[in-house]
Symmetry: C2
Subunit: 894 residues, 2 copies
């Protein structure tokens, strides 16, 4: 017995989506729900795959099943395919498992030839309609099935329309359509060297094949790559009796959403076009009416449609996007699917439907995409204004979207001046070839940052993300000329003081100001409701990465339950502290260094006091100093240039000597691969006093705040541990300092010591590390770099994006955790860590902590929390809830 | 019942080394063999550990056991401890499990006080001897047990010796010794505020304690750290009846080896000192006679000793180092142990003993240290000349020993001039702040390379090792001044043209020429014999890393069974090829690049032809291009300096333009962490044509040589693979090229495609990689870098050596494979690789392939071969045999 390749609509249902495609399953479901759907059937996705597997041949038995299904439709409709006396016409449409709007092709009116055309004209009494249908068939078939350039048909149609008074397609006369048909057929013959087929079965089989083949059409492949849809899903083909909206003014076609897809409001939303086929609405041939107007034009149909729409929404328990046609006053539903919606609408609809009793809270939580929450949280440019900019050519460049959000301001080309202008009240966008620690002051006062070079972990990107500053980096198409204070893109010149707008969410750069839509968390009532439901389901904690009290407060507002990563080195970058920092680095003896550390201590203490206050009652995980020391000094290349110039001109011997001294220091600290050099806990071990000072500052702050009644929970995190001895020595040393301070201050605070797991060896020997670490925090940024051997700064610009584009990698591993490699190390570390210390606290503080797919993985391997930037906290809350809903039993509990 | 803490010599044997220490076990063994050993006993190493565990208290029952043992000795000797009528004197010596010569302390003549002194004088009829023994006891006890500065005693002795005619200790009269005893006792009282103890039991117990405590003495701890001996072994204490070599001219003491420890010749080798105690030989107080002279001086004793020495060698089946004393014409053996020997002697003795039927081949192979083989293979400075240089102050600096061997030549400060001078016939040592690819030409013509900066993987080190060029890097105490063509170390100046000598095996730098001992492999008959035996035992193959035919030939001579790593990028560094290489890198289009690749093809082909010829019949694994492209270009810092200077002076606009263009290119290729940037297979994927050209050249060479009758086995290795798709794409592309060339050339050659496993992710996903790789080669240099997160270039100079020094790491993981971390990844990869492809060929080509401990690990995890530099091949052959002997059953077979 051959396989069942063909299902009548009446044989399927909505759960057969994988086999019948979304559209096919929907038509089947509607058919069985008794809704007015034209009779038809579906060739399965398996048939599609079998077609390719057989070398572009229908699988055995399929064509016979198609014919048998056609016979049943003929019986049901009383029409016959290819029968001039009462011809059956069908549409042939694709329908994949996932909705891929506009990506797949459709052929209408299959079954027309000169004989059936005559019959159709006779039966409908509308010759014009019949010819209109025929010319549509020829052009669609020619274009889609045979690959003829559609423009050739369009030119003919346009030429004829130009001859009419109204210049619209409805103004074409029967005679004109007859001429058009002739010309279309001539084009067909000229292009293909054969006549347009009169054999209706040949039309049908070739149309089905064309839909199959379009699965590997360029547009479809591109869409799948962008949306991570596998190639081996295949598409189904739906063959459906034609109904005609273009049979006169009592006919028409429409598309409608059961709720407003932009706002989520509960109103019918859509359009209706009289005397037209579906394609006409999409193509924008005439301006359709709003769906509400239909009530006036045809109240009966409108009422019927409203009733059906409500029924569909209740049936599918989601907002529906419905295609329908009215043929001579009779309403037919051609398709229904869950409607696409904006982020705002998604949230509102989910919350409303719970309130209406239509869905459960769990369903509401599962239904909103975490990324939609993200979109709601950043100020963004008005989409309409953006579109206008695109049209008007003020969209001038695109770089990497390094830190989300939109910003408008005047371009300024150095950090010092940016600071001045900002203090003078200007909104500033700092534009640099790239940034360095010296620029941080200026960056923090700017509204946004744009750099020509650098990747997603370049200095600019990291500082911007940490400070929620919109930022576009690696915008290589602009040429920044700091000397003349301007940048150019080909002929376009942007001078200092000119206004520009940057969109850190998309990487786009605009000339001039764009109007902005701002966010007010307190007004986001629906979102807050949804997230409070999410909190009921999730088991994963959501912490935040925050270095400053203001970030900590913001994150707490967003629902953060602790700080998972407080970086302490940013505190060293601030201007007033630089002399002490440089002194500390240059110190020749431990005593000399101690003096500078003494100066830094009060600054660090203050930083921590603010953070403990902001996080009263919640854990704060503080990472000790991490970057290599040369990051705190001027850049080597700049110094070489300065020294060479000063030597050459002989202008300022004193300045030269000073610069030479600094250059010598910088060169002595220079590293070939700083990412894997003297940084992390290695600094603590090799430069005595630094981490002791930090721990002293942390515990002084903790004890003093505790005395004020603040509930402090300190967790000190030792970075970049790769061998247990590093951890043991640092921990022992620092725990002594902690106890000393506690004794000095006379008040005990709750504390833990733990480590980052961010080198492969750290993960591989986690069992040993857990002997000393009370907690692990996976630093998946560095762990990914070292596991792959990808320096992120270099890789993203030089090959990583191309790797993703060319499918060498399934995704950018710095955005979505690589579960096969990095994830394997994490699992090993989790298991070994728990084996040694069953109550070990496990979390993640890499950027993956804000990525939904990675959060799902973290849930499955049994972490306690994820930590992410403040603006990702709401996203993570939702993603964590969805992870819990997807896998109610954690892996570890299996 | 308390534990047994004390063993009589007659109760032990040589297998009780861990409990009794080496010396105690030896004394026991000799006692039981009926050799003339003075009666005595041993306090065990367990007693030592128990002593520390109890907070520096003898463990329960030990002191009673000591007393009981003393009673037995008294019975045996007929003397009594502390009995003036016939006093027993004993020595108290340390004896740890491993031989730690000179590290632990000894007290002789315990049991003397004024009364027993008188008795001893009376019984021996030698008052002078008795006082000499007493003054020795007081000074040794004072110094070792009580910590008095030894100089104080020495000054007294020297002062008295100065008063004699001969000025030797034997010239001291009895009266003088009596005075000395008085003065010693005064020092003792002054330093400690108490009298020297007359209680002989107190002397004994304190002496035993002192030996225990010396286990944690500074010298012992340092020695253990350097020799990787654990602290928890403890030391045993040997209490032995005193015999006296200083009882007159019929007495004496000696040390002798049963074979010459320098050459290995089978002759008795050692020294004898008349009328002296053992310490006197070591201290060099008088010049002893050669042992052979004893035959003349005392033929009876000599004959007896020769007989005993032979017996001991046969008993222990190894060359012995024997301490003996003659007391009034009676020979006593005080100690025997396996003798230390030079590398040359070790090999000769092992081979000779097999030939003598004394040991088996397996024992011979197990007995020679692999590092001793290494020492035989490099030209080295005459050790005597080196010692002289140390004394005379021409030893001027010490850097990192980057590539072994000795070299002498004139210092030259740039590569171009080095090339000129070398071509003019001079022996040149190239001295640079550091080297870059531009210097390679000059390096290859130099005799040796010395750099001020850089670590063991700096450019200089890597190139030198690959070319067997003696090299010292990171010699930070010298200040290289290329402008004035000189280097300085404080006041010492070495100008261009001055002769210097460098020792790449030790890192030492000398002013002037040092005489050299050269190696001739053909003359190393014993070594070759030993290695041929090693080959009978080992199951691990030994391949070599060789880039040039001459290296391949050399390695083959040394016994290499294939090339495990032929790097192809070195071929790009040669001067004549540079324009094509730069052109290839700068190419804007694939077509333009193809032109330059076309130019490079014949060069590459020639390189490979030579290598295939040299390795006729053996496998050759060729790694495709690996380093980042900017390594082939001038250095960024140099260019910035040049461009800035040219801009400033305005001298040569054309040169400026050229330099600016080059700088722009270099900057566009610059990477923050080049080790993890665009290199390895990423270059092949991102820069189409490069690896295709290489594979074309490889297969053209292979086919053409095959036509000439050479037996070619090509294995193409794709580097730095981190995701299976990289391997899949490169392999598919390149296998096509291989088949194309085979078709073009009309002859088939045997070939494989495989990959390096050198990123953690590569190892973690090895099961997937094995679907496409026919072989894996572990690139443990990079794998160690990424697993630890240690950039070797940075780490070795900045913290790694300190980490080892401070015991944060047990060893430098770039020298000895880290089995817990990197090794864990390797095991996982081996298992997963074999699961996918059971016949997968597994090897290692990192530098660990030449390290004995790492070779042992490779054997245990079931690799097929190790690959190392040509000069390490003999070392690896021996180490592989020892690994097989240690674990006859591989882990995988368990």
């Amino acid at each position: 017995m051959t396989k069942k390749w063909v299902y009548l609509f009446s044989e399927g249902n909505k759960d057969m989506r994988n086999l019948l495609g979304g559209k096919g399953a929907g038509l089947a479901e509607m058919t069985n729900a008794g809704l007015p759907v034209p009779p038809g059937f579906t060739c399965t996705t398996e048939a599609c795959l079998a077609y390719f597997a057989a070398g572009n041949q229908f699988p055995e038995g399929m064509w016979e099943q198609v014919k048998a299904a056609m016979a049943l439709i003929e019986k049901e409709t009383g029409k016959r395919f290819g029968d001039p006396s009462n011809p059956l016409l069908v549409s042939v449409r694709s329908g994949a498992r996932a909705s891929m709007p506009g990506m797949m092709d459709t052929v209408l009116n299959v079954g027309l030839n000169p004989e059936t055309l005559a019959g159709l004209a006779r039966i409908t009494g509308n010759e014009r309609f019949a010819y209109d249908a025929y010319r549509r068939l020829i052009s669609m078939f020619g274009r889609i099935v045979k690959g003829i350039d559609g423009k050739k048909f369009d030119e003919v149609l346009e030429a004829w329309k130009a001859k009419t008074v109204g210049r619209r397609d409805t103004d074409l006369t029967t005679e004109m359509l007859q001429e058009i048909v002739k010309e279309y057929k001539a084009i067909y013959k000229q292009e293909l060297g054969e006549e347009f087929p009169d054999d209706v079965w040949k039309q049908l089989s070739e149309a089905i094949e064309a839909v199959f083949k379009s699965w590997f059409g360029e547009r479809a492949v591109t869409y799948r790559r962008l949306n991570k849809i596998p190639d081996d899903w295949g598409t189904a083909v739906n063959i459906c009796t034609m109904v005609f909206g273009n049979m006169g003014d009592d006919s028409g076609t429409g598309v409608a959403f059961t709720r407003d897809p932009n706002t989520g409001e509960k109103v019918l939303y859509g359009e209706y076009l009289t005397n037209a086929q579906g394609e006409d609405v999409v193509a924008g041939i005439r301006t359709p009416m709003k769906i509400a107007e239909l009530q006036r034009v045809n109240p009966a149909i409108y009422e019927q449609f409203v009733r059906l729409a409500e029924m569909l929404e209740r049936h599918y328990r989601d907002m529906q996007d419905i295609e329908f046609t009215v043929e001579r006053g009779r309403l037919w539903l051609l398709q229904t699917r869950n409607g696409k919606r904006t982020a705002r609408a998604a949230v509102k609809i989910a919350v409303d439907m719970v309130n209406e009793g239509l869905i459960t809270k769990a369903e509401a939580v599962a239904r909103v995409e975490p990324e939609q929450v993200d979109a709601l949280l950043h100020p963004m440019f008005d989409p309409a204004a953006k579109e206008k900019a695109m049209r008007e050519g003020t969209f001038i460049a695109k770089g990497l979207n390094a830190s989300p959000g939109a910003a408008t301001g005047i371009a300024v080309f150095d950090a010092k001046r940016a600071e001045e202008r900002a203090k003078a009240g200007a909104a500033v966008i700092l534009v640099r070839p790239e940034t360095s620690p010296e620029d941080v002051g200026g960056m923090l006062l700017s509204k946004g940052v744009l750099t020509q070079h650098g990747g997603a972990t370049s200095h600019a990107a990291v500082v911007a993300r940490g400070n929620n500053l919109p930022c576009v980096v690696g915008c290589e198409s602009i040429e920044v000329d700091t000397e003349h204070r301007r940048f150019t893109i080909g002929p376009i010149v942007v001078n200092e003081g000119d206004t520009i707008s940057i969109d850190g969410t998309t990487g786009e750069v605009f000339k001039g100001a764009l109007p902005m839509l701002e966010v007010d968390w307190n007004k986001e009532v629906d979102l807050r409701t949804l997230l409070s439901w999410a909190d009921e389901f999730r088991t994963l904690g959501v912490y935040t990465n925050a270095d400053y009290p203001r970030d900590a407060r913001r994150a707490r507002e967003f629902g953060a339950e602790g700080i998972g990563l407080c970086r302490t080195e940013h505190m060293f970058f601030e201007e007033e502290r630089r002399p002490s920092v440089v002194g500390m680095i240059m110190a020749k003896t431990d005593e000399e260094r101690a003096k500078y550390l003494e100066e830094l201590l009060p600054f660090q203490r203050e930083d921590f006091e603010g953070i403990f206050e902001a996080m009263d009652g919640l854990p704060v995980i503080i990472r000790l100093i991490d970057p290599p020391m040369h990051e705190f000094l001027p850049k080597r290349e700049t110094l070489i240039e300065e020294v060479t110039t000063l030597r050459c001109t002989g202008a300022d011997p004193q300045l030269l000597a000073e610069k030479e001294r600094m250059l010598a220091l910088v060169e002595s600290l220079a590293e070939v691969n700083p990412m894997m050099g003297l940084r992390g806990c290695r600094v603590g071990l090799m430069m005595p006093g630094v981490t002791e000072m930090q721990v002293r500052a942390i515990f002084q702050a903790a004890c003093r705040q505790a005395k004020k009644g603040i509930d402090v929970h300190v967790e000190v995190m030792i970075p970049l541990v790769t061998h247990v001895n590093e951890l043991r020595l640092e921990k022992e040393k620092l725990a002594r300092v902690a106890e000393e301070v506690i004794a000095e201050e006379g008040i005990r605070v709750d504390y833990k010591f733990g480590t980052m797991i961010e080198t492969p060896r750290g993960a591989l020997t986690a069992g040993e590390l857990a002997e000393y670490a009370e907690f692990f925090s996976f630093g998946t940024n560095d762990l990914t770099q070292m596991t792959f051997g990808f320096s992120r700064d270099d890789a993203e610009g030089k090959f990583l994006l191309k790797y993703v584009e060319q499918k060498i990698l399934p995704a950018n591993p710095f955005q979505t955790l690589d579960q096969d490699g990095v994830g394997k190390l994490m699992r090993m570390a989790v298991e070994a860590g728990k084996a040694t210390r069953p109550d070990i606290e496990l979390g993640i503080c890499g950027e993956h902590g804000g990525d939904p797919a990675s959060i799902d993985f973290c849930h499955r391997i049994g972490l306690k929390y994820v930590s992410c930037s403040p603006y990702r906290v709401p996203v993570a809350r939702l993603a964590a809830a969805q992870a819990a809903l997807r896998s109610p039993a954690r892996l570890e509990d299996k």
